[in-house]
């Protein structure tokens, strides 16, 4: 080896953080959210009212809580379609506990533990048996809700204790509901975990290349298992909130929530193929979905027509950056 030249210096980054922030996904979502907020304020005189705005948050807090965990799961390259069914099963178990005379703390514990258990069951099937999660959770989706139907049949559980109502109906301060506070706290926790810890970094690595991650000493199976458990846990928490809000349990509770949660996550800029996404995006997407549904609700637009807007929003928001890049002259 003769004359080795001095090593070439490689800079940390090329682009300025500011300019990349301006052209980021989150910036796009902020613009969309502000626009919808403005449109809503013009379209309905009832919109800009503290009570209305407070009621609005109920449209997304429960789904949003699940969306955080789902975001991590999707970033890692997996998916969970059984979240709504977990809600149903957890709620049914809480109902059974009420029949047996359980008090509020026990109820909350049961909701959370059942959610966690269901998540662990999904996680085991996926990580231990190496099955594709989309398929497994289509199966457990029927299984979990099916068990709720077996237990409850055409009956309903009610008679939840008075104090239990706080979780889904209570306010922490003025119009700030307990659900909203929980949502915001969870947002911060999940943001920290995903973007500021090595656990979060490993989640990204798994989503981009699970094999290389495994070779790099990432315990892929364990992390995915934890993520399924987390998603189950959040579904359990959501189950507590919804059950408390409805004050009763039926096996058909939360039907169809799974697709709304996934829509929220994808709208938030999480790549459905795994490997990319941010919690801030999910938070913004949750607000946007709440704003759209509530704003259109004020105009008495039927829910199904709202879903057209959500569907369009989803496609347009995802397509926009692609079209934009094309126009600015890629290939």
């Amino acid at each position: 080896m003769t004359d080795i030249p001095a090593p070439r210096h490689i800079p940390d980054r090329l682009d300025k953080p500011l300019s990349s922030a301006i052209f980021s996904w989150e910036a796009l979502l902020v613009v969309v959210a502000v626009a919808i907020f403005a449109i809503n304020s013009f379209a309905s005189p009832y919109f800009l009212d503290p009570y209305s705005l407070s009621d609005l948050t109920f449209n997304f807090t429960e789904k949003g809580l699940i969306a955080f965990a789902m975001a991590l799961l999707i970033i890692s390259g997996e998916i969970d379609l059984s979240v709504a069914a977990i809600i149903a099963l957890a709620s049914t178990m809480m109902g059974m506990a009420v029949q047996a005379g359980a008090g509020t703390p026990v109820l909350v514990l049961i909701g959370i533990v059942v959610g966690l258990g269901c998540g662990a069951f999904n996680g085991l099937l996926v990580t231990r048996l190496g099955l594709p999660s989309i398929v497994v959770t289509i199966g457990t989706m029927s299984l979990f809700r099916g068990i709720a139907f077996i237990i409850l049949g055409d009956q309903a559980y009610k008679g939840y204790p008075e104090s239990f109502a706080f979780f889904g109906q209570g306010y922490v301060w003025w119009v700030v509901s307990f659900e909203l506070v929980l949502f915001l706290v969870a947002a911060i926790v999940y943001w920290l975990v995903l973007h500021r810890t090595s656990f979060g970094r490993r989640v990204f690595a798994i989503g981009n290349n699970p094999v290389a991650a495994q070779f790099s000493g990432v315990r892929v199976g364990r992390i995915k298992f934890i993520l399924f458990c987390l998603t189950g846990l959040m579904s359990g928490i959501a189950s507590v909130l919804i059950t408390s809000r409805l004050g009763s349990t039926r096996p058909s509770i939360a039907q169809g929530y799974e697709l709304e949660v996934i829509t929220m996550v994808v709208l938030g800029g999480v790549s459905i193929l795994g490997g990319a996404g941010s919690i801030l995006g999910v938070v913004l997407a949750a607000f946007i979905m709440g704003l759209v549904t509530f704003g259109l609700g004020l105009l008495n637009v039927p829910g199904i027509v709202m879903s057209i807007f959500i569907g369009l929003l989803l496609i347009i928001v995802i397509a926009l950056p692609i079209v934009w890049r094309r126009l600015r002259g890629g290939r």
Partner: protein, 307 residues
């Protein structure tokens, strides 16, 4: 400013509720100062109905008249509505007592239960096996009717044997599967009773397809305009229903009475409902309207043009 009364239905698009809306508009015209907001979810779930109610609260409507997808789950949000000064009544499919000021039953629950069995029994002088194809297993009103029917069966119709109750979820595909299953499992089945407008059509179509007209009689609750065909082809001898137009009309009248005239809803109170007459509240603040009306070959033609 006009009085805003929201007519919240289980799901949009259902012919029964569209007819009720006609009645509601008629009442609004008579009352003069009323705007009707006809709304509801597309999917018959409690959660979706709660979002609808929330947006009505935000719009500060004067009254909500709701046909509920779930008797209990809607209670908290309706309570909130009442706290914010909104009059809440339920009609058709009720809400638990603490979630509304009064409930308007289309007809007496026991009477409906009896009627659906009687519709089958009338054409089975020898007696025989019958089965019930219901809507979703969580539907409040259907469950109440079925219970009433079961209660009355041994004393009034001893020769009729109820062999099964299945649920079609008000989904035509599922109702069809269930109806087929009934015919296969019970070869001696003489009648299918479907106390739901979706299920009854599905069952009648299955009986027609399986060429069992004359062997199995389909009956239950049906909208004449949707069901005429099966009376005509003989798959069904007769069905019953109350008048949804009158129901919507009365619901709006009652909501108006409570919201504007500040009438009080308490047990024993008698309230007037325009051209339909008067109702008296029982001790659960419920009132029942007319008995179910029967449709057969003689009158279906006429009523199918109305609702």
């Amino acid at each position: 400013e006009n009085v805003k009364i929201a007519l919240v239905v289980k799901s949009l698009g259902n012919g029964f509720f569209d007819a009720a809306n006609k009645g509601a508009e008629e009442a609004a015209k008579e009352l003069g100062d009323v705007d009707i907001i006809y709304t509801g979810p597309t999917k018959a779930t409690a959660e979706a109905q709660i979002e609808v109610v929330n947006s009505l609260i935000a719009q500060k409507v004067n009254a909500i008249a709701i046909s509920a997808n779930d008797a209990d789950a809607l209670v908290p949000v309706l309570k909130k509505a009442m706290e914010r000064g909104i009059t809440v009544i339920s009609w058709d499919s009720g809400v638990a007592k603490e979630g509304r000021q009064l409930h308007l039953n289309p007809s007496d629950t026991g009477l409906i239960g009896e009627t659906i069995i009687k519709l089958a029994a009338d054409y089975l002088p020898e007696g025989g096996d019958v089965a019930i194809l219901s809507a979703s297993s969580t539907a409040t009103n259907q469950n109440a009717w079925i219970d009433a029917a079961k209660k009355i069966l041994p004393e009034k119709f001893p020769k009729i044997k109820l062999v099964a109750t299945v649920y079609g979820d008000d989904d035509s595909a599922k109702s069809t599967d269930e109806a087929k299953g009934l015919l296969k499992s019970y070869p001696n089945l003489k009648a299918i009773i479907a106390p739901t407008t979706v299920g009854v059509v599905a069952a009648a179509q299955v009986v027609t397809d399986e060429k069992l007209i004359g062997k199995v009689n389909v009956t239950g609750l049906a909208l004449p305009s949707e069901f005429k065909k099966f009376i005509d082809n003989g798959a069904s001898q007769a069905v019953a229903l109350w008048n949804p137009i009158d129901l919507g009309y009365s619901a709006v009248y009652l909501a108006h009475d409570l919201a504007v005239k500040k009438e009080e809803a308490k047990p024993g109170a008698t309230l007037s409902i325009g051209r339909v007459g008067k109702v008296t509240l029982d001790d659960t603040n419920s009132a029942a309207m007319a008995p179910p009306f029967q449709f057969d070959k003689s009158n279906i033609e006429k009523f199918s043009k109305i609702y």
